[in-house]
């Protein structure tokens, strides 16, 4: 199978700082791929290496099976949407979008046609003559997207383009981006520190930390099966950890007693962490009969969040757990502060992480 982008053992340092460490990555064609991580994790550098705006110290960059490691940006067929959008302030919407085509010496007649089509795709018809500073944030976003897409890039790189937008517009734009990506079918590589954006839009994503890729997978996969504590914490709203020692046959010995956990080989006798997402718990009366683990705790406080109720529960060993309970019907019972409740979960809802 051929890939849109392949990175092989890419490393890049800026002076003392090693921004990217031996990164290898294969991004499929027509995929919406996200690079996710906290600021300074090397995701933007990786993106810029794909764009040719930075050159790797070691390693190889392949675009559509072609080695472009030493090729300058303008000769790689890529599009990019920048964090600041970088719309040219001295040009109007039309000229901004037409820029890439003009650089490619496309006849003006064809440019007019393609800009028109592009404006339809991003739903910005009639804005051709507007100055950039006369546009709203969302409109600029669309123009930037149109400008990058019109050159039919092999891959579109997006560097936190939604960062500057209000929450509402951002949520709207996320869906919009996803739609446009499906419509044009271009490979998108999307850099963000916001896990929601990555979760909403990505087909697959890579989580980076300190220049190293921690995990690559679909949002579902990464959410459900984080490979380490960092990924587990970074993805999702919250997560609970319970420390213990792995005994044989899927049993974890903790100071809460033995807990049933997924059966794994090679962990016997090792000290590990059990990670459980807050929504995986059942409380009191709702605990099914075939549940694997049940423990007790005391409700510290509860927060009504609309679609669910968030509880903070103190376990007997003093550890605090976060539990989300779906709020399904009006009048559903909300456990009072200070009341003791039972908490249960299935062994497969939890993930074993090594230290």
């Amino acid at each position: 199978m051929s890939y849109a982008v392949e990175l092989e053992n890419i490393s890049k340092s800026f002076g003392e700082v090693q921004a990217v460490k031996n990164v290898s990555l294969k991004i499929r064609k027509n995929e919406f791929f996200s690079l996710l991580g906290p600021s300074g994790c090397g995701k933007t550098t990786t993106l810029r290496i794909i764009a040719g705006l930075e050159f790797p110290d070691t390693g190889r960059v392949m675009l559509n099976d072609e080695d472009v490691t030493d090729l300058p940006t303008h000769k790689r067929n890529i599009g990019m949407v920048f964090q600041t959008l970088a719309l040219f302030p001295h040009m109007n919407v039309y000229d901004n979008i037409a820029f890439g085509l003009r650089m490619r010496k496309v006849p003006e007649r064809e440019i007019r046609q393609r800009v028109k089509e592009m404006l339809e795709i991003v739903r910005m018809e009639g804005f051709e003559k507007r100055k950039i500073n006369q546009l709203s944030g969302g409109q600029r976003q669309r123009v930037a997207l149109a400008r990058a897409l019109i050159i039919k890039p092999a891959v579109l790189l997006l560097d936190e383009p939604l960062g500057a937008l209000d929450l509402k517009i951002r949520q709207h734009m996320m869906v919009e981006l996803k739609k446009i990506q499906k419509e044009v079918g271009t490979t998108f590589i999307y850099v963000t520190h916001d896990q929601t954006e990555a979760m909403v839009m990505s087909d697959r994503m890579a989580i980076m930390k300190d220049g190293v890729i921690q995990q690559i997978g679909s949002p579902h996969n990464v959410y459900m099966r984080p490979v380490n504590k960092f990924v587990a914490l970074f993805i999702g709203d919250a997560i609970n950890f319970i420390e213990g020692t792995y005994k044989d046959k899927g049993v974890l010995s903790t100071d809460l007693g033995d807990l049933k956990v997924p059966e794994l080989s090679g962990y016997t006798g090792k000290s590990v962490i059990l990670a459980i997402r807050p929504e995986k718990f059942f409380l009191e009366n709702n605990i099914p009969s075939d549940i694997d683990n049940v423990i007790e705790g005391r409700v510290i406080f509860s927060i009504f969040r609309g679609s669910f109720v968030e509880y903070r529960v103190e376990l007997d060993n003093g550890q605090e757990m976060v539990i989300f309970q779906p709020y399904l019907v009006a009048g559903q019972k909300i456990y009072e502060d200070g009341s003791r409740i039972k908490i249960g979960w299935y062994r497969d809802s939890a993930v074993i992480l090594s230290h």
Partner: protein
């Protein structure tokens, strides 16, 4: 508070009046019938006619303009290069360079002019209009550098990266994106450089060849000859008018 505001206002108006006084007097006497610049005897436009037919004035005016244009183009060009390099790249000695670039501004012109003259003479370089231009550029690069660098500091390098991802090569990126965006700073720098050169007397005076007069040198020569001609006052009026146009253009450009 009101009374202090009023005093301030009156003072400011007075200040402006004083600032304008010497020029007003030049203009006033440009209409003087007699050759005196101290006693006004009657109104005439004679001085304007004689200004128009004064070949030497226009010749030196022309020299001032063309040298200033050459100086402006070269020093702004070099200024752009240096400020671009300094804002874009990290390199050893950058801070040192930044300070060295200030030196031409802080060195007194007379010292600069005379050392340049000694230098040219020692190298056996014959004085020519080009030696004048060389001297002006050495001074103006620094001004261009400072003004353009200030503009570049507020300029987002992502514009250039965006252009490159869209397929523009280095030259296209520079001409189609960098330059147009930096234009207000460049225009400002160019105006400053132009005026520095156009108004320069000391350096021109020392590095010019015989027979090459710019306007300030002409004014100096004329004034040191007997009978300071009142065409020069007429010329002052002319320059005031041009200056107002210039100042206006500059203001418009700054608000760009």
């Amino acid at each position: 508070m009101k009374i202090t505001d009023l005093i301030l206002k009156i003072y400011t108006v007075f200040f402006l009046a004083v600032i304008y006084l010497p020029i007003a007097i030049l203009i006033f006497f440009s209409f003087n019938e007699s050759r005196s610049k101290i006693v006004f005897t009657g109104f005439t436009l004679e001085n304007y006619y004689s200004l128009i037919s004064n070949y030497a004035v226009w010749d030196s005016f022309y020299n001032s303009i063309w040298t200033a244009i050459v100086v402006t183009v070269v020093s702004v060009f070099l200024g752009i290069m240096i400020s671009y390099g300094v804002t874009r790249y990290e390199f050893k000695g950058k801070n040192m360079l930044d300070i060295l670039m200030l030196i031409p501004i802080i060195i007194p012109e007379i010292v600069e002019a005379l050392t340049l003259l000694v230098f040219l003479i020692i190298l056996g370089i014959r004085l020519s209009p080009y030696t004048v231009i060389i001297g002006h550029i050495a001074f103006d690069i620094s001004f261009a550098y400072i003004v353009i660098k200030a503009r570049m500091a507020g300029y987002d390098p992502q514009f250039e990266e965006a252009a490159r991802t869209l397929g523009a090569n280095e030259i296209q990126t520079f001409t189609k994106v960098t330059l147009p965006i930096l234009m207000p700073g460049i225009v400002s720098a160019a105006l400053i450089a132009f005026l520095q050169s156009y108004d320069d007397f000391i350096k021109t005076f020392f590095t010019r060849p015989p027979g090459f007069t710019t306007l300030p040198v002409y004014i100096w020569n004329m004034a040191s000859r007997r009978g300071f001609a009142l065409d020069l006052n007429a010329l002052a009026t002319f320059i005031v008018v041009i200056s107002i146009v210039f100042a206006y253009v500059r203001l418009k450009v700054e608000r760009w």
